[in-house]
Amino acid sequence: MTTAKAGASAGETGENGGAKGGAQGGTKGGAAVVAKGAAKAVSRAGAGEAPPLQRKARRRSAALGLLAWLTGIVFFLPVAWMVLTSLHSESDAATNPPSVAASLTLDGYREFFGAEGGASPWPALINSMTASVVSTALVLLLALPAAYALSIRPVRKWTDVLFFFLSTKMLPVVAGLLPVYLFAKNTGLLDNVWLLVILYTSMNLPIAVWMMQSFLAEVPVAVIEAAQIDGARLPVVLSRVVAPIAAPGIAATALICFIFSWNEMLFARVLTGVIAQTAPVFLTGFITSQGLFLAKVCAASVVISLPVLAAGFAAQDKLVQGLSLGAVK
């Protein structure tokens, strides 16, 4: 279908019929037009292939497109099911076979937010937001000058420094967990959200340095030199000249750091309790079954995943770059 369409639209003026036929391929009455579009594509390509072969290739292409759609739907199904279940009543959520068409209600959400008594998730959500947002801001504050010193005005052996940052990311978290726990216990920082802020900053700083390094490398040096000739000092250069040019990259870095901090659970689980628990720790309260609670679990999962889903979809293209530490563009 796409080949015919491309061929037809690439054909010269007045070929609206062909283009339309290509777009509507398969609908009744369009067959003749499709053939025309295909013929056009063939004559343009000059390959001299017979139309049946074209049609076969097109059918194959359509089948593969359909397969892609099917797998996409299969992968998305659990997420869709989670959302649907969160909108069902508890009794409709726990039926076998599943009740797809049951009436919708917001009871699951109401219950999750504490309508029936029980702990309110708001403190946990606010803790998560604090830890994620503040640590992301700290990461950017530390990473921007560091990336400057690794790309625009590089220190000697800058690649070694870059790889040092990366290597810290490969140290398993559990290996440093116990000393951090003992330190927190002895200094009274246990169950304190600011300790998480520090730890999340260290967790995300390597990623941020790597990403920003590659973004800043694209900032034209001439602009910076011009600012420096005008007498601007480094903080001014960074905030007034570099940051605006690299803004899309900085935003992408911030989103990635936010997602990782929001998702983190091991540190939060070990180092926080009642006061400073984060949203993922709050979710661990649902690990053991509590009778009919599927709608509530799903509502909780949807609410807590929502910030990440939003951030992730917004930064789809940058996601891979952040996850591969800037190695893949």
């Binding site: 796409t2 759609w69 967990l177 891979v320």
Partner: protein
Amino acid sequence: MADTTATPTPPVTHTAAGPVAPAPPARPRNKLRAWAIRAPLLPALVFMIVVTQLPFVATLVISFFDWNSLYPDAREFAGFQNYSEILSDPDLRKSVLTTLTLTATTVIASLVLGLALALLLDRRFRGRGLVRTLLIAPFLVVPVAAALLWKHVLYNPEYGLFNGMLTWFGGDGAPQPDWVSSMPLVAVEASLIWQWTPFMMLILLAGLQSRSAEQIEAARIDGAGTWQVFRFLTLPHLRRYLELGALLGSIYVVQNFDAVFTITSGGLGTANLPYTVYQTFYQAHENGVASAAGVLVVIGSLIIATFALRVVSSLFREEVFSK
């Protein structure tokens, strides 16, 4: 600046001249200037060293002590006793094996699936952007939430979606397996594969889209079929991306805690190393043993990381070089 430093020299070499030719010459009176250049880097560097390296040194020290936090006064130097205890403990040895199985299965399965999906998405079809968005969604569900979703909503033997679908298709007599207790490790792996396949797909898709279209066209004109193009052009080009996906995936999945903690709570033979370390000090209060296990995890990761760094470094080199 990076483009002027383009050089095929491996970035990790310690040559004094280095790949940083435009850096100022290190004349003595420029010492101050050199520090001025270093200054912006220092806060981040010092922060990282303090927060990530010091705890590890502490772990190393603690690993040589016999130290149960319930009996803090009985703390004493124990040499390699903790290590021999770990290496001879069948449970801990099993958790090493579990970690390896879990990581290898998850990474390989999600790589293969991710490759298939990337190939499907590398073609034009209607709604491609939407399908990509649908496919990324599993990766964006908070890991604990994803694990809860699988445990309660999909795997539940009485009213989970999987058994519900079996009833749909098989009627009332359909088998209703208890997924988590009959195949605990597979249950954990399936949920992880579901989350990690999109990650692999994204990396491999980036790889596919960086192929040279001219080369493929040339091969086609020379009469190469789809399979030949895939086998002799696409796959060699993707090799690096496959390696990168495998290694990054390994680094993240080796550390997985959320899924094991949530779906099985480490029971039924699914306790991996991170979970075991967590349990050893959080529930058994054995600080020394937990630290020794932590050190062993680090040694394992270092082996993986050495390869990982090499792959990233080669990609990095290619990228700097191609600018």
